[in-house]
């Protein structure tokens, strides 16, 4: 079941040896069930911090994050997380990397394998179940990471610059793939990116954070029709939206 996220006046400050570093300030927004929201901003604006708070990996110093109305206290199987690096275990095959979350939860082997097979098909990696991560390209490894995040059937998928380490072509293709996977799996998705074009192409809503501390300077609805093909980026509507986002980041 797709989850609903709510960031309620979230603020966060890191305390370093040489002083306090404010990362986020008064961040409030809602993510409707089944929608795809992208968070953009210059590097160091606290995007990843925000995502870690939503994932329950970090406790905010102010405010709270809610999932379906209840506070997020720690990592939950309702939330799947994809990092910038694929973070696969090099000693496990693709299939066994996928089933790791299920193994940790004592799901029986037959079910683990069935779910892995379904996800391998969903992310388009048929034939690679027995491959080791060293044998995969960067794009393929990231597909495995997305599939692993989905294996719990989480309801919410959080992606922290998942395509940041990939080349431009692979990145475009995986963006379209993500849309397909999102529509097929029916999750609520929050993705952090530093690419304006990628954000508008993918999202229902784009949230722009200002630099240090990160504050919301724009919460923009993207009314482009779906399904979206790659050439939507050349439309007039797309150009107008990216101009607004760019202006907000620069402000």
């Amino acid at each position: 079941m797709p989850g609903m996220l709510y960031a309620d006046r979230i603020g966060h400050t890191f305390y370093m040896p040489d002083g306090a570093l404010p990362a986020l300030h008064n961040v409030t927004f809602a993510v409707a069930p089944c929608s795809l929201v992208c968070v953009v901003g210059a590097s160091g604006c606290g995007k990843s911090t925000l995502l870690r708070i939503l994932a329950g990996l970090l406790k905010p110093s102010a405010g709270r994050a809610l999932l379906d109305g209840s506070p997020i206290e720690g990592p939950s199987p309702r939330v799947g997380m994809v990092f910038q690096k694929a973070n696969l275990m090099p000693w496990r095959t693709v299939e066994r990397n996928l089933t790791l979350p299920l193994e940790l939860n004592g799901v029986p082997r037959a079910e683990r394998e069935a779910r892995a097979a379904a996800l391998i098909e969903l992310v388009g990696l048929e034939g690679f179940a027995g491959a080791y991560p060293a044998e995969l390209s960067g794009g393929m490894a990231q597909r495995v990471a997305i599939a692993r995040a989905l294996i719990y059937r989480p309801g919410v998928l959080l992606l922290d610059e998942p395509f940041g380490a990939l080349d431009a072509l692979t990145r475009e293709r995986l963006g379209s793939e993500l849309l397909r996977i999102w529509q097929a799996s029916g999750n609520t998705v929050v993705m952090v990116t530093h690419s304006i074009q990628e954000a508008i192409f993918l999202a229902d809503r784009v949230i722009v954070l200002s630099g240090r501390p990160g504050e919301i300077v724009l919460n923009l609805e993207v009314p482009l029709p779906r399904p979206r093909a790659l050439d939507v980026v050349h439309s007039a509507g797309f150009g107008a939206l990216s101009a607004r986002v760019r202006a907000a980041i620069g402000a």
């Binding site: 990092f83 690096k85 973070n87 000693w91 060293a134 044998e135 794009g139």
Partner: protein
């Protein structure tokens, strides 16, 4: 290149030939270098009499028990040191100090404390094995990728699950490297112990044969010890090939990549 497998045996054959040549030409007196035939005869006699199997059994037992206990202590202490830096800061000088004491020098003390039976040899062996294994355990645990730790945390893994599913497999290549070094050192440890004071074992066999100028028997014991160390090393090697099969796939990166 199948001929590569032939090189090592050919080197052994050449050395054997050289040995034979030197003794046949009487270049060295027999009490220094006996002929290969004499050594083989001594080997056969010791085998027949049952003394060789007996001494092998004693030394092997010391080696295996010493290796096991040294590994056990090194692995658990290494894990704690890697996990708790404070613990490491307190203990590190003592551990390095322990390593700085030559084992050969304290072997007599160990005999005084634990007697001339197998116990003192097991302890000598464990002490010699301990340090390299400890270092490798700490290094192995430290090189676990922080990102993978994050992943385990995001998956709500327990401490035990993180140990079993992440730390052990991630550290395994380094641990097995340490085990290879330890396996050969363990034989040295047992022999050092036996040299200082023993009434059985291959080290004892060398000592007592030497005292009656039975050089062929000394050679028999030396070769047996070498073979024992090689066998242990080979055992760890095959364990490695089995456990780290995934690493060999790395040799052709991108072979599956699109």
């Amino acid at each position: 290149m199948p001929w590569r497998w032939l090189v090592s045996p050919l080197v052994a054959l050449a050395l054997l030939g050289l040995w034979y040549g030197v003794t046949a030409a009487d270049l060295l007196p027999a009490f220094m270098l006996p002929a290969p035939g004499d050594v083989f005869e001594a080997f056969y006699e010791a085998l027949e009499a049952g003394s060789l199997p007996y001494h092998i059994g004693v030394t092997l037992q010391e080696v295996l028990l010493g290796l096991a206990s040294g590994l056990g202590v090194a692995l658990s202490l290494g894990y704690l040191l890697a996990k708790f830096p404070l613990f490491e800061r307190i203990l590190a000088p003592y551990i390095v100090g322990l390593q700085a004491v030559p084992i050969v020098a304290i072997a007599p003390l160990l005999i005084i404390w634990f007697g001339s039976g197998t116990q003192s040899k097991i302890i000598t062996c464990a002490l010699i094995v301990f340090f390299p294994m400890l270092i490798n355990t700490v290094v192995g645990m430290r090189q676990v990728e922080p990102d993978l730790r994050d992943l385990m945390r995001a998956l709500n893994a327990t401490r035990w699950q993180t140990f079993r599913y992440l730390e052990v497999p991630a550290a395994l290549p380094v641990l097995l490297g340490g085990l290879k070094v330890s396996a050969t050192l363990s034989v040295i440890g047992a022999v050092v112990g036996e040299f200082v004071g023993a009434n059985a074992g291959l080290g004892f066999m060398i000592n007592s044969a030497r005292s009656v100028f039975d050089t062929p028997t000394v050679y028999v014991a030396v070769f047996t010890l070498t073979l024992m160390a090689l066998a242990l090393y080979g055992l760890v090697g095959s364990l490695e090939r089995r456990l780290l099969a995934w690493q060999r796939r790395r040799e052709q990166p991108g072979s599956f990549a699109s």
